[in-house]
């Protein structure tokens, strides 16, 4: 096995920022807004670095798809302990329509090219909440998948994954190579310390175009409109059930 792990990291609007919709309702305001690495991607990087520290794998490669600024996100991954980065350049219109289908095609192509043993992704991104990229990547590669992982352990040439599901926890054994998506309780990501950030400057980030990987970025989806959630209105108290029923009828809900 190559001992190489591919980790996907996405640059998203920081979780603490108050989101605003553009006046033309086409999308969300991103200009001048603070961005950072998707929290679930941080957990994915942390898991990969932990595996390397335990000497179970040899190399961690951080991958991000996007415009020039995506390099900042890769640098953060490098500062956390990844060995090198790959920046897949996607900008302009292509970036606006970039979604899980396109990213998973890219990840699959890279996984094959880099002969990765494992692909670790965050379970979902906090901007689109798709929760699809990991699953699609595994399907394209025809690899087993361990999604919503809260625990990952190597067992011989198999991987034991404990998954967080609606009913509780599910433990599965999958063979490698495989795709894993990280859930919240998998680990607590480390801070990128300033000395590590300085060291990360020397690590390499390779530049790749989607065309080089033979990936077609056309999207099958079109965003029609983006709206803010409706303002929460005040509630009304009622005394009896009959009151409730008549009020609901008035509001057209019944």
């Amino acid at each position: 096995m190559s001992g190489r792990v591919l980790v996907g990291v996405k640059r998203v609007i920081d979780y603490a920022v108050k989101i605003r919709v553009k006046p033309d309702n086409s999308s969300v305001v991103t200009d001048g807004v603070k961005h950072s690495m998707n929290p679930f991607c941080e957990i994915a990087v942390e898991e990969a670095v932990k595996l390397k520290e335990k000497k179970l794998i040899k190399e961690v490669v951080a991958v991000s798809c996007g415009p020039q600024q995506a390099q900042e996100t890769i640098r953060t991954a490098l500062a956390m302990g990844a060995d090198r980065g790959i920046h897949v350049e996607v900008s302009g219109k292509d970036y606006e329509t970039l979604g899980p289908l396109q990213v998973s095609k890219i990840m699959a192509a890279l996984a094959k090219k880099e002969e990765a043993q494992l692909v670790i992704l965050g379970k979902q991104a906090i901007d689109d909440d798709c929760n699809q990229t990991g699953q699609m990547t595994a399907a394209l590669l025809d690899w087993p998948q361990g999604t919503f992982a809260s625990e990952v352990a190597f067992d011989g040439d198999k991987i034991k994954v404990v998954r967080e599901i609606d009913g509780g926890l599910e433990t599965i054994m999958i063979s490698s190579p495989a795709v894993i998506t990280a859930d919240l309780r998998l680990n607590t990501p480390r801070y990128a310390t300033l000395p590590n950030i300085m060291k990360a400057k020397k690590k390499k980030i390779a530049n790749v175009k989607p065309a080089d990987l033979g990936v077609d970025l056309t999207s099958r989806l079109e965003v029609l409109r983006v709206d803010e959630p409706p303002q929460r209105e005040a509630g009304v108290k009622v005394e009896t059930v009959d009151d409730l029923v008549s009020k609901l009828k008035d509001a057209g809900r019944l």
Binding site: A16, E72, L194, K201
Partner: protein
């Protein structure tokens, strides 16, 4: 009012001309006078940066325009470095707890060490981050969110280990810096004593050389030492006997003292109003043996080392205060736009709006001054920016104090409770005008240094004229006549070779007018008082205040010009802030300079001093009680 001023200035220049015409009859200057003048200029030259020329009524454009920039790579690096520190402070630092328990929890301290915040300016080869003054100032914006942490870090690296960094030799750096940079050892700066605060040159701690000349024995007590109880490596200042020109003299020397040398004890931790998480205590030295290799710089050269250390750390107060005010603006604006009284949101009332403008203006000026100074300090050639750094410190400490108080006021009664952090900010900020050189001392330093420089230049010119340099004399008189008869002032900030953007032209003109008047005000003060100006603190205070405003105006004009030129986001708001500040400062400056004129009715100093004398003689309020009767 202005006409009176002009007349006064004009009459002075007439007197000067008369004196010149008389002088020029005497024989040309003797040879020795000429040589003496040259020597004095050489020894005086400290490579001072921008501020000194303001005292001559000149703007040294090249020093401050364009606003200093850092390269693209450095900007990216800075953003990278800032993110984890901000996160650490918002997630792992419980300021309320630190204040309540009066200590920084060991886990937090460890987190700070691991982040690398204990060796920001230590070169990479010794295990530090090797960042520039500008980067240090940027990180100070974040660490200031918790006053105790900010002071602990600053006491460690801005002054504690700075001596080794700027004046230590290779061996000392290699031995001490690595562990200090990683935070394994903590540093402290030991200068102040119970009897010697502002008067640092009067310290009494002694270091006596041993018989065999291998080590010194240090005896004495130091007071108000930050990190005093946990420092492993201390920069200690003590009096040593030196022989100068055959005479025995007592001069101060700087030493690196390790707690491990033995004989070092601490007093109890001081119970302070604010920055309660920072450890402050007395440190006693009882026959502490210090090897001669641990002398920093030269024996007897300690005072200069101390001044250099203190001067180099001050500028960061600008960015740390700005960082704090920016955070306060966020917190209070949320409140002002949600709370309603009289069916209007607080933010719609004028007096509340004024407070927000005040905070925005202060933050803008402090940032501009801090990064301008840091940029100047980062230039090659080691320019002496001690005046500028002192000015940044005075402005930021007082501006910060006013802003936190106003921020608390916006919250009203809520701001007064411990449920909100405002009262902690107020308590933490109160120390700013006091430590790192009290604002009173710094004002004196700034005013006197500048006046000394101006005095030397003017004396030099007078000597030239005495030697018969008529051209110079006529030139000076001509210039005075021109300005006093209402000719326009043009110092090159606007116009063809102007460095200020046209949208700021009006403010630039105001600055030029102020600078020109300042130059002549300084000159007339020197003529009136000569050397005895040293005792005229109330006059010097005004000189310093005007100078600080001039530097502030310069900084905002330089910064805003750059923002417009490169099309930075929201530069219109910057123009608004710059113009507003310059306008306010212009009128304040004129008022102060009017008070500095001879026999100015606006000047109440004589009365103020009389009141103070009578009160102090009485050791109490002097007046009879208003309800008293005479029978």
């Amino acid at each position: 009012m202005m006409n009176v001023n002009r007349f006064v200035v004009f009459s002075k220049s007439v007197k000067l001309t008369k004196r010149l015409l008389v002088c020029h009859v005497r024989p040309a200057g003797k040879q020795e006078l000429h040589v003496q003048q040259q020597r004095s200029i050489k020894t005086h030259s400290r490579n001072l940066a921008y501020a000194k020329d303001l005292f001559l009524g000149q703007v040294n454009k090249a020093e401050v325009f364009p606003y200093p920039e850092i390269g693209n790579e450095e900007v990216d690096e800075l953003n990278q470095l800032v993110a984890p520190v901000e996160r650490f402070f918002s997630e792992e630092v419980d300021s309320a707890k630190i204040d309540r328990e009066a200590r920084i929890p060991p886990e937090t301290l460890n987190g700070l060490k691991e982040l690398g915040l204990f060796g920001i300016m230590v070169p990479e080869e010794y295990g530090g981050l090797g960042l520039s003054n500008t980067m240090y100032a940027r990180l100070a914006e974040i660490t200031s969110l918790d006053g105790s942490i900010a002071v602990t870090l600053a006491a460690h690296q801005a002054i504690g280990l700075k001596g080794i960094l700027i004046a230590g030799n290779e061996a000392q750096k290699e031995k001490y810096l690595p562990k200090l940079a990683s935070g394994e050892h903590i540093a402290a700066f030991c200068l102040t004593e119970p009897g010697s605060g502002s008067d640092a040159a009067s310290i009494q701690t002694r270091a006596t050389l041993s018989e065999d000349g291998t080590h010194y024995l240090i005896n004495g007590s130091k007071f108000w030492i930050s990190n005093g109880n946990m420092a492993d490596v201390m920069t200690v200042f003590a009096r040593t006997e030196v022989v100068v020109d055959g005479e025995k003299k007592d001069k101060i020397t700087a030493f690196i003292v390790e707690r491990a040398f033995g004989g070092v004890t601490n007093g109890k931790l001081e119970d302070k109003l604010g920055i309660r998480g920072s450890n402050t205590c007395e440190v006693n030295f009882d026959n502490v043996p210090v090897p001669v290799e641990n002398v920093i710089g030269e024996v007897g050269g300690g005072f200069k080392v101390a001044m250099n250390i203190l001067n180099s750390g001050r500028f960061s107060m600008g960015s740390s205060s700005a960082g704090m005010i920016k955070k306060l603006i966020e917190m209070t604006s949320e409140f002002a736009m949600t709370r309603k009284q009289f069916n209007k949101r607080l933010g719609e009332f004028g007096m509340i709006q004024e407070k927000f403008a005040l905070m925005a203006l202060n933050a803008f000026v402090m940032e501009s001054m801090a990064y301008l100074t840091a940029g100047m300090m980062d230039r090659p050639g080691l320019p002496d920016c001690s005046l500028e750094a002192a000015m940044v410190k005075v402005f930021s400490s007082e501006g910060g104090w006013i802003c936190v108080s106003e921020a608390l006021q916006i919250l009203g009664g809520l701001g007064y409770t411990k449920n909100y952090p405002y009262e902690r900010f107020v308590r933490d900020c109160r120390i700013l005008p006091i430590f790192e050189g009290t604002n009173e001392i710094l004002r004196m330093y700034v005013a006197l240094t500048g006046m000394q420089y101006a005095g030397k230049i003017i004396t030099g010119k007078i000597k030239e004229m005495k030697k018969g340099n008529i051209g110079l004399a006529l030139g000076m008189v001509g210039q005075k006549l021109r300005t006093s008869l209402g000719g326009s002032v043009d110092l090159g900030l606007t116009g063809k070779d102007g460095v200020v953007h046209p949208s700021l032209a009006e403010s630039a003109k105001k600055l030029e007018l102020n600078v020109s008047l300042f130059g002549s005000t300084v000159e007339s003060l020197l003529y009136r008082f000569g050397k005895s100006i040293v005792d005229e603190q109330l006059m010097l205070k005004r000189v310093a205040d005007v100078l600080i405003n001039l530097y502030a105006m310069t900084a905002v004009l330089s910064r805003a010009s750059r923002s417009i030129s490169i099309g930075l986001r929201n530069h219109d708001h910057e123009v608004l802030l710059a113009n507003t500040f310059c306008s306010e400062a212009f009128f304040k400056n004129n008022y102060w300079m009017t008070q500095l004129q001879k026999h100015a009715p606006e000047n109440n100093d004589a009365n103020i001093k009389k009141i103070a004398r009578e009160v102090l003689e009485n050791r109490a309020y002097v007046c009879s009680h208003p309800l008293e009767r005479t029978y």
